[in-house]
């Protein structure tokens, strides 16, 4: 299409041959991006003037958070622990549930195309919903509290680990599987001995990676009433008690950092 509107440039080489150089797409892409930016600015009332005038408020708030209010730590410990518990439980159950889902969604293990398609659609639909929306729905179904948060994290982990796992399973070397089947093993035995060892390290590694991210997500779920530290964050922001917010953020950063370091250690070992 583009090539027809802007015909390729013809270049005459010294040896008499004519080669065609395609016109650059860059102007078109820049034009589209510029148009999208203008439309977006229109839709969002973005204004650099307001930003320049009021951004000091933001740094003022950040400044108020330093130094954090250390004495607040004992009071927030329970909520922090609940956040970690939520993400731990949700990640574990989610990662375990991901195994049957992923197996049922991989086209080289399951021969029934309909089943494969259904499970793939379930996984991608689950992945689409932002976890805060799932948490919101879960608070209506399971009541306010950490249970709703666990459900939201569980569903997200299931979709994320499930997708990575079925992609892994679909890409394994099927030779061993076929050999074992032809040697008289059942499909389940062949799966256990031919496919599982191939995908296990990356499955564990992606579960750990997902857990790392979940700790961060769990911190905001409290905002919709799904337990954890998010409730304290929104309360204290409402009261403009910035030193306390600073303390919460500091302890979150330390927690996330520790968990990331531990998980990275094990993930490096796996690969």
């Amino acid at each position: 299409m583009y090539d027809k509107l802007f015909p390729p440039k013809k270049v005459l080489l010294p040896n008499g041959k004519i080669v065609q150089e395609k016109r650059s797409r860059v102007p078109l892409i820049v034009l589209i991006l510029a148009a999208a930016t203008v439309v977006s600015v229109e839709f969002t009332n973005f204004s650099l003037k307001v930003l320049a005038q009021r951004i000091h408020e933001f740094f003022g708030m950040v400044g108020d958070m330093i130094p954090p209010k250390w004495s607040y730590f004992p009071a927030m410990w329970d909520a922090l622990a609940a956040t970690i518990q939520m993400s731990l439980l949700g990640s574990m159950i989610g990662a375990l549930l991901a195994v049957p889902f992923a197996v049922l969604a991989s086209s080289n293990v399951i021969r029934n195309k309909f089943v494969v398609a259904v499970f793939k659609i379930i996984l991608s639909l689950l992945r689409t919903l932002p976890s805060l929306v799932t948490a919101l729905i879960a608070t209506f179904v399971f009541g306010l509290g950490p249970t709703a948060g666990v459900i939201a994290i569980l569903l997200f982990t299931l979709s994320y680990v499930g997708k990575l796992l079925y992609e892994q399973i679909e890409n394994v070397d099927m030779g061993a599987f076929e050999a074992m089947e032809s040697a008289g093993m059942t499909r389940i035995q062949a799966f256990r001995y031919a496919i599982l060892p191939q995908v296990l390290p990356s499955y564990l590694s992606s579960s750990l990676f997902c857990f790392e991210g979940n700790v961060r997500y769990a911190a905001i779920l409290g905002y919709v009433g799904a337990g954890g530290i998010g409730l304290l964050i929104s309360e204290n922001l409402g009261w403009r008690d910035y030193p306390r917010i600073g303390m919460i953020i500091l302890s979150l950063v330390v927690t996330v950092y520790v968990i990331e370091t531990v998980s990275e250690h094990f993930r490096k070992k796996l690969i």
Binding site: T37, V39, V133, V256
Partner: protein
Amino acid sequence: MTTVEKQLLASPRNYRYIFILTIVILLLFGWSLTAASFKDVNQSGLDIAGNIVKGLVNPDLELLFNVSKQSVLYLLVQTAAIAFLGTIVGAILSVPLAFLAASNIVPKPIAWLTRLLLIFIRTIPALVYGLMFIRVAGPGPFAGVLTIGITSIGMLSKLYVDAIEELDKGVLESMTSIGCTTFEKIRYGIFPQLLSIFLSVTIYRFDMNMREASILGLVGAGGIGAPLIFAMNAYKWDQVGSILIGLVVLILLIEWLSNKLRAKLVKG
């Protein structure tokens, strides 16, 4: 005993390590079990679950397709606009930060300090930024753009740094040896190496930002989140259904687009 069996038995077995790890994991599992309880699940919860499904099957079509400022369509475009502009703001802010955090460009201490700053920026939850920016820019989509911008910085600069640290220095050396100026070195030596990776990462982040932008409305920072929570609190499940359907379709669409574009970038 055959050789194969001997080899099999000779392989290192760290039973103790695995045993201790299993115990630790089981203990952690037991500890975290105390967080969840299912005694609050009662008949009304199940009713609501049923109603949500009913709402998804019979969405409010009027809300989904009309073109006023309250319609799902308008709000979805607004959400996409927030994500788009936020990604651009984030990408612009990330580039200098990424160069400051790359240990092959700047001295080690500066790189380390920038990385520490990035860890802080990355860990603060998006909703905290949202609530803070509402105080700066007032409730509305503008606060959403700023929030998305700053939450994108964490991941974008981390991946940019990886690309910068893998720069092929040989190209630059050969350009110096044939007498290129600094500007030419940047334009023809560094720029082509980084551009496609930066673009690919940015497009991926835009895809993620769609999800982020759709929840910012919960704190009043524009987009589709606010009507969603209002509809839920008012138990209007048909509206919830139409909003969720619109959201899922849009996110899937953008994910598909982003995958296409990135595949094209990788192939060159």
